[in-house]
């Protein structure tokens, strides 16, 4: 579906934390059914971009359109209801909720989300540990839970912030295969990633972010670990 209108179109997005101006006119889009990444150094504004799209950052200007609807003036709960689901970098597993409650927490925003059985088929460990306190899971299991709980909501666009951070290679591989399956199922994914190898394995396009701006867009076919590292000067 490369020619279809973008599912998410971000134009000249600026964002502030208090007095500090973090995003300086981010412009990019994500097409329905693709996996796009935001790559860049620490502090480039990748996480802030996801938070701004989600409406969590208070002060923002510019335009964010989802399925044609302007969202930049909406509160985060209204944005989520349009069909965006967010998995934060720190995972945000609730310690006062058990695994089953964590999984059931985000309300459904659209029909067509995964059923609980399908979620458990993708992540069997979550069924086994349904009664455990959410934060008692291992880091990898918590990451699975953080992804799993937004699959039930029916939101077609998933915003994932560094899902591989701090995880063992075998778990990173597992998450990669899950993202492939989600893509086949029709989910659109905007991914913030520092792990180039992982990004190359799952994404269709890469946006290179520097100082709160997109400085280049690289199709996956032209990207390699070396070119991406060159872009980022690492």
């Amino acid at each position: 579906m490369p020619d279809s209108a973008p599912l998410l179109a971000v134009n000249d997005l600026h964002a502030w934390y208090g007095e500090s101006h973090i995003l300086h006119g981010m412009t990019f889009d994500v097409r329905a059914g693709e996996v796009a990444t935001l790559l860049g150094r620490n502090g480039a504004g990748k996480t802030t971009t996801l938070k701004s799209v989600m409406g969590i950052v208070g002060r923002r200007t510019g335009s964010v359109r989802f399925e044609g609807t302007e969202t930049s003036r909406l509160s985060s709960n209204r944005i989520a209801r349009l069909g965006l689901a967010y998995c934060p970098e720190e995972r945000g597993i609730f310690s006062s909720l058990n695994v089953a409650e964590n999984l059931a927490l985000p309300p459904a925003v659209r029909a067509g989300g995964l059923t609980l059985a399908e979620v458990h088929e993708l992540f069997p460990r979550l069924a086994e540990r349904a009664d455990s306190q959410g934060t008692k899971l291992s880091g990898g299991e918590q990451q699975m839970l953080a992804i799993a709980r937004i699959l039930r909501t029916g939101a077609p666009l998933l915003l994932l912030d560094e899902p591989t951070e701090g995880l063992a290679p075998v778990i990173v591989q597992h998450i990669g295969s899950i993202l492939q399956r989600l893509k086949e199922r029709g989910f659109t994914i905007l991914l913030v990633e520092q792990n180039f190898h992982f990004a190359l394995g799952v994404a269709d396009r890469h946006y290179v972010v520097e100082n709160g701006r997109v400085v280049d867009c690289v199709p996956n076919s032209r990207a390699s670990t070396a070119t991406l590292q060159g872009y980022l000067g690492v």
């Binding site: 989600m54 409406g55 969590i56 509160s75 985060s76 709960n77 944005i79 989520a80 209801r81 689901a85 967010y86 934060p88 945000g92 609730f94 310690s95 006062s96 909720l97 409650e101 059931a104 927490l105 985000p106 309300p107 925003v109 937004i150 909501t153």
Partner: protein, 295 residues
């Protein structure tokens, strides 16, 4: 005469019952405070005033509209719930981005204004409120006389506390509330209208205070100062139980009521300070409170 540890058992049981009744009010009031503190991060100093208003709404309804106790038990908490929600929407909401100290100051000021207004209108001598007919009288248990109404207060308070605790621990809405207490921004980003949840929670806390006020009307007299008399002790209960811990507030409320009652028997001079002594000891040994989670 039967005695226990050299004290007449009648007196001992009487004080224990009194302690249990006080404990019931401590529990219901500290439950509301803990809920509000958990989600809003505000120490609701107006809680005592809301309790007093509950009692006054019942008394006003009876005096001017002939509405009986049972109907007041529903109407007064509803009125206080609406009052609380309006307060949250119009005033408290403006303070969430500031230091929690401002919330304490605002609610403290509100409590003074409300209390002052009621003193101006109704004086400080207190208004009597009859025990409802159905619960007048009592049962002679042999070792003590048990007034029906007071027994009912303890039972109803226990039921309310248990129901609230179950709703928070076992229902979907309770899970949302617990999650929003931990990380409101993320819960909102999942599509939950957290500001409405916050308003509802404050309203529910105020309604609980109003409910306790109606229950208290026949036990103590209906007095503009009744809230400020009890609220300091309730704050001590919340601190001992652990700020924001629901179960902790309830258990501590009843427990401290009993301890206070026992102190009245064994060492009456200390009965009004024993709770604060316990608070000081708990703060020294376990600063997060008996049931509190250390961050």
């Amino acid at each position: 005469m039967i005695t226990l540890f050299g004290y007449p058992i009648q007196a001992l049981m009487g004080q224990l019952l009194l302690g249990l009744i006080n404990g019931a009010f401590y529990a219901v009031l500290s439950l509301g405070l803990a809920l509000i503190f958990g989600l809003l991060n505000i120490i609701n100093f107006a809680h005592g005033a809301q309790y007093m208003m509950g009692a006054f709404v019942a008394w006003l309804l009876l005096t001017y509209a002939g509405i009986n106790f049972w109907l007041s038990l529903i109407l007064a908490p509803l009125a206080l719930g609406l009052f609380g929600m309006a307060l949250e929407r119009l005033l408290l909401r403006r303070l969430y981005k500031l230091d929690p100290l401002y919330g304490l100051l605002l609610t403290f000021g509100l409590a003074l204004i409300i209390e002052g207004a009621f003193r101006q209108a109704y004086g400080v001598s207190g208004q009597a409120y009859q025990v409802p007919k159905l619960l007048q009288g009592g049962i002679n248990l042999g070792f003590m006389y048990l007034p029906l109404y007071r027994a009912a207060v303890v039972v109803v308070s226990l039921v309310i506390c248990l129901a609230t605790w179950l709703a928070i621990e076992k229902t979907k809405l309770g899970a949302l509330l617990r999650a929003a207490t931990e990380n409101p921004a993320l819960v909102q980003a999942f599509g939950v209208n957290v500001p409405v949840l916050v308003t509802g929670t404050y309203g529910f806390g105020a309604a609980l205070a109003g409910f306790a006020g109606v229950l208290a009307a026949p036990v103590y007299s209906v007095n503009p100062l009744m809230g400020s008399n009890i609220i300091i002790v309730v704050f001590a209960v919340v601190v001992i139980g652990g700020m924001g811990s629901i179960l902790g507030s309830v258990l501590t409320g009843f427990g401290l009521g009993l301890i206070e009652g026992l102190t009245k028997v064994f060492y009456p001079e200390a009965s009004s300070t024993v709770i604060f002594v316990i608070m000081a000891i708990v703060l020294l040994l376990k600063p997060a409170g008996l049931f509190g989670r250390t961050a």
